[in-house]
Amino acid sequence: MSKTGAVLVVGAGIGGMQAALDLAESGFKVYLLERQPSIGGRMPQLDKTFPTNDCAMCTLAPRLVDIGKHPNIKLITYAELEEVKGDVGNFDVKIKMLPRYVDIEKCVGCGACNEKCPTKKVLDTFNEDVSTRKAIYAMYPQGIPLCYTIDKENCTVLAKGKKCGVCKKVCARDAIDFNQQEKIIELKVGSIILSPGYDKFDAKIRGEYGYGRYKNVVTSLQFERILSSSGPFRGHLQRLSDGEEPKRIAWIQCVGSRDPNKGNAYCSAVCCTYAVKQAIIAKEHIPGKLDATIFYMDMRTFGKGFEEYYNRAKDVYGVRFIRTRVAEVKEIGETKNLILRYEIEDGNKVKEEEFDMVVLSVGLIPKGGTKELAQRLGVGLNEYGFCQTSEFAPVRTNKPGIYVAGVFEAPKDIPETVMQGSAAAGEAASLLAEARGTLVTHKEYPPEIDVTGQEPRIGVFVCHCGINIAGVVDVPQVVEYVKTLPNVIHAENNLYTCSQDTQKLIIEKIKEHNLNRVVVASCTPKTHEPLFRDTTRLGGLNPYLFEMANIRDQCSWVHQKMPEAATQKAKDLIRMAVAKARLLEPLYPKFLEINHEALVIGGGLAGMTTALSLADQGFETHLVEKKSELGGMFRKVKYLSEGDDPSKRLKELIEKVKAHKNIHLYLGTTIDSVKGSVGNFTTTLNGGEKKIDHGVIIVATGASELRPKEYLYGQDGRVMTQLEIEEHLVNPQSQIRNAKSIVMVQCVGSREPDRPYCSRVCCQEAIKNALKIKEINPKTEVYILYRDMRSYGFKEIYYQKAREKGVIFIRYDEDNKPVVSAGDGRLAVQVREPLLDVMLKITPDLIVLSPAIVPNEDNVELSKLLKVPLNQNGFFLEAHMKLRPVDFSTDGIFLAGLCHSPKSIEESIAQAQAASARAGAILSQSHLTAEGIISCVNEALCRGCGLCKETCVFGAIELIERAPGVLISNVKEGLCKGCGACSVVCPTGAMSLRHYTDDEVLVMVESALKSAAAEI
């Protein structure tokens, strides 16, 4: 039976959205199911994101729009998965659509209903109950789909059966329908991806912190909303009790995490870094006047760039970090200030300290309802209610064809979630490779009218946007004015220019009046330009003969109290748009033929995984490894805490790689040069002995273990690294079996001034080996000297187990490192025990060092060859730390595994699968469509100075030798994103950006000044 070329993605948070986009781009139909009225998940609630402090909404919003307009993604919001039957490749799915009581086809999201709705005090769950909303609501302004929803529990009509119906009366689109019922829809899909996300731990369970009783004790998610400029206080940091600006804020970590008694035994992995972020942002809100204190157990800033971020919080921002578990919080009746009671390491006095506000860093728990969902699907969960997966298949559930992404697999941050989203897409794409492209839709457009030489005939459509624009701007007056402008053949006003029927109307008017330019004056091009361009194209015109004026966001909304001036400004804005429209020219995005093969550099775990995944998707893949054997660092891993056998897995992988008909293996091979751009690369290998043509590149060159220069390593045979002892532990000899005591030293070469990053996996590696030593001989004393135990996620369970087995953990400070000596033939370690404040002397038989994971030295060379950047630590730097964790900013080049940053096996595999999904999305296109709006060079003016080339961050400009010794710029059309930076720096005016040429921009400026001049 043939497979179905469609995938159901359950949960439209950042992970689900990524999976949907990658699959849709790869030629699969995607049904994106979301329980909430709008997609986006948790990320829209966040204010800023770590470690770059980028605005969450600013980075997310474009992605929401991409999802909303993608022809191959069908959004199914406010709905639940009801039933799944069938089997891998062909699932029959029933989905229950919940009644919104608003017709999604009719609603244009103008918000008139919300404005008039008489209900008030409904707790706004999007704002984490910090503020209230009305019964008819949109979750957040940028939400997709742009459709309101009535919450039935709070509606006067639906809940109380009273006559109200104000929303129905004011809705100009007749979209309100109180009689809507639940409805079941049926779908057929080949695969299912589960990304339902998480809930936060209920802070009331930790009663001693007073959440729910004391107003100024808030959860971390509430604090995000308080900080957010789109939040209830418009970004003014204030207390909930009295609206005062706090001067002292305390964060309490591990609320509900690492707490087997009242919360959950696992570590939630994200709270340390988000608390650091919140403290930094809070300090920025109230510069110089806010004390920020974080109470923590271990500071777990283990991700890429996180340790540096933590250091900045301490050293630059002056955030105070106190290592303790706060015992309780009390409120002072009069001031509503809070007293924290805690004990610190040095000194034996219990302290009490007063704060104005307390933020509880609540942990992540599985989303409510996922247990039932898993039961319905037959998907196995672990004991904490997260999805059961294995180390070697991190996004696979126990049910074939059903994959998982994001926090449902384990607590994780945004980039890890995005990686898993892509990885799940990659798995599904491999599974359904044969059905690729069978269910996608191709839109038919009429033949394009040739407008060459025609006098501009402009049609202008001015939108009321319900009352959004018309409530302030006198739209009919504006239309009358527009009709007087030269070349305007037709002008009219529409209640909602974006509605489906108006699209039909615009097409009719184009035909009726032989229009050859279209101008819409409405809202923001960010969300609506794609729609109107499409309509223009359906009317038979080139889509770039369209221009937009934003008279809502930039006019009626900001000048609400000045209707006359706003009306004048609307006229100005439209006159400018019309002026530009006269000069618009048709643009024809280039179609680039592409090569459908891939190059994977590096034959370790990540490289092999990527190559296999791409090969399974059906793409010829060239795998290049500089060593004479495959395996990389993975070769040195001998066993895993979870019990899987890495050596066996390695053998299987190598066999598969060697046998796969789509994989071409080049061992002992180096890369000489890489030419070309996305879709068409040419790479020469081994001193020019071989040339490969390919469409994409995946960098998976790995990293290595540092060879330590301290603690007698290399001088005394009894001092070894974790990877070295691992070798001995598989087949333990007397040295191990009879060891009375073994000391492990963490952070050797990591978290130090000249290598500031955390190597992420050494804590779990040390715990793994310590447990193994205890298993071999329970009498062996094992000491782990650490700075912070960073056993994040479910690795925390092994940390707990190690303590139960008697492994002794002793903390040391960076400036008080252990001292290792070998005086009279015996090894000795001296370390200060911070709790007892005494020097301990241990005389172990062996010392095991946990050295840093360091980037390969030849990264520098490769980064030059590929023209992709490295970060300050020498690891490759991705395009965006949150949302594009496997892409380089240069199109068509991706990265995976240790060359990106230190990570575990499971994480390397997920990233490798993600890279293959992202690469597969390009390779599966028959050709690439370049941007229409790109830069172009006027060769007569170009002096070949190369400024444009230096400026371009996308690597889209090259210098070519037009004649001997004569250099000129050339735009690689496939790579140009149309940002216009080159045309700004060009000293001669040779470089210009199509659709935004100097002429087109200047004529708008002139038009704008005309009105100003007339008024003077």
């Binding site: 009331k204 930790r206 009663g207 009390k330 009069e334």
Partner: protein, 288 residues
Amino acid sequence: MSIGYYPGCSLHSSAKEYDLSTKAVFKSLGIDLKELKDWNCCGALEASSLNPLLSLALCARNLAIAAKDYTEIVIPCPVCRVNMLRVEDEAGKHPQLKAKLEHIIGEKLQLGKVAIKHPLEIIINDIGIDKIKERVKKPLGNLKVAAYYGCLLIRPSRITQFDDPENPRSLSELITVLGAEDLNFPFKTKCCGGALLMTNEDLTFEMTKNILLSAKEIGADCIVTACNMCQMALETLCIKAGAKYNIKLDMPVIYFTELMGLAFGIKDVKGWFKKHLVSPSLIYSKVG
């Protein structure tokens, strides 16, 4: 319906009003409290810290007496109750200890036969708050109350098995159903310091002062408690502690059973109130 009643020493002396009000309230709820025959002191805090076995043996004897006539006993004093519960816990875990205790008291222990309860526990869990509501004759309108739990009523929680040790709510539920205003009292689970009075007077003063001051700050008319030891510490020390810190700390501290008596319209309330060192008469005028 009758339940065995273990008053302990203090309800026969310093906490007489607790004794009287508990019996009166239970009577009005249709429950007869029958005092155990020939009961002895539980050993209080002193015996358990000097000679744990003595403390366990004292309580074991009481339990053996109770087991002859009852399946359920009520102990208003949280100290006594925890001591009794400890016997069940320890002897249940360690059979040798059980044998030793049986040897000392000369009787067999029937562990698990007698349910050992606090009156508040019976009111909240067995009778139920709805039944209480039906009995209210005079809702306590304007009264603002700080519910105070102290330590041993709810802790150690593994032993007491009653309410949330970090954020208890049972008294609040009761206060609300009686019609009074239950205030958000941040010090509701803090130790009163009573047990330290002999060994560290200054520390006790500080602890008592913090609790009383906090109750004043939130505007309480009185503190309501379910522990005779806390009641005594707060009430007797307020003058001394107030003098030490030079602030006025007087605040009526009454038992939850007295508050119930007031709301149930039981006439004897006036007599109970007379036994207090800080007069709760203001409460009368408030309730009207």
